[in-house]
Subunit: 227 residues, 2 copies
């Protein structure tokens, strides 16, 4: 089976993306990045998910984006809480990590080249994260163009890199419904930006609010452990 | 003065790029990446150069590309020695690090966004490194396009990112002559892929050979300490 690299954060979107990629017939090489994120517990969940979902490989790469900061996820900046949809949709949120998806996809591309995979999957989504510039189709298209110029494999023509974002236009409810059809246990995933020391979700950050709303709209019981 | 981010490895090319960017009137925010490179001593040189050349900031970001490997610089693969020009120009060398410049420029972009710089300088060069896909103008142009789609600043239009590679078409001798005019002390730089424990250059890897040839052609005494 052809191999695909899947960026697996341990969250709901990336886990669904993994399950979808696997259902499409790929052997999955999962990649998780410890970039100094506040919600580091997601990396524990990513390792569990990689095992449960049957990754043929799972690599964790450490990258200290705290040395740069500039985000509530990588610096000592509070995570916004209890914001309504209007507040969430005003501009780029402070949880945006400068150039994060460029960097994550860059590492995924390097990993893909070493395992001879040409298909890279990312759980980017434009509806719930309209404020993040690096979740938009134009960004992903530009990265795909770059990937084929940046690499040995792309340049020598042994294959053509493709960036897949199967969730890009789906609502959170649709994503959850897809995952349920694929047999995914969302209790293993965590979306919270600001979990407590025990790894329980705060229930109040943008990511928790969108997740709760998604389960409600999907008519699926929310398995999340809230603090 | 406007700020620029300069990728500073501690090598001859990036140091010259720094001196050139400074001469163009930028305040320099230098960025060095510890990506698990075999020639880690270059990071010590980078810190010294940043101080000598007058960086307004110098950040070091750690990124463990050894978790991926796939290169003589990041895995237990021998560095080729004593290759002639013909051998060097046959395809992509084993010292190519998969997606390295994509990743380094990605981190530089994130750093640039946090310091409100829109100009990013990289010492990429096409003549001596024709085998590296991510040293070509087409790659750099694609990254510039990406940068303006990937970021808050690029999207909101507060500025336009530019990727500068001032050495891109220069021979090693021309690069050295430029640096000499700018007062650069090349004794502080190191190019070797495989230095000894004391940080002395091997004199036999592709990078050492190209450096030696550059000094000879420039008519400049080679200040490098060889093992």
């Amino acid at each position: 089976m052809p191999r695909a690299v899947v960026l697996l954060s341990g969250g709901l979107d990336s886990a669904t993306t993994f399950a979808f990629a696997k259902s499409e017939g790929y052997d999955i090489c999962a990649l998780s990045i410890d970039y100094g994120q506040r919600h580091k517990v997601e990396l524990v969940r990513a390792a569990e998910l990689a095992a449960i979902l049957g990754a043929v490989q799972h690599r964790k790469v450490t990258l200290d984006l705290r040395a740069i900061g500039g985000s509530a996820l990588t610096a000592d900046i509070p995570v916004p809480k209890d914001r309504d949809a209007e507040a969430m949709n005003q501009g780029v949120p402070i949880t945006y990590v400068p150039a994060r998806n460029t960097i994550l996809l860059g590492v995924a591309l390097g990993y893909a080249e070493t395992v001879e995979a040409f298909d890279i999957f990312i759980g980017a989504n434009i509806l719930d994260y309209s404020g993040y510039p690096d979740c938009r189709p134009a960004f992903l298209q530009a990265f795909e163009t770059l990937a084929n110029l940046a690499t040995k494999a792309g340049t020598e023509g042994s294959g053509q890199y493709r960036i897949h974002a199967p969730l890009i236009q789906m609502t959170k409810a649709e994503i959850i419904q897809l995952g349920m059809r694929l047999g995914l246990d969302y209790g293993k995933t965590i979306s919270c930006y600001d979990p407590d020391a025990a790894g329980k979700s705060c229930g109040h950050c943008d990511s928790c609010i969108l997740r709760k709303k998604g389960f409600a709209e999907a008519g699926v019981a929310d398995p999340t452990e809230y603090a």
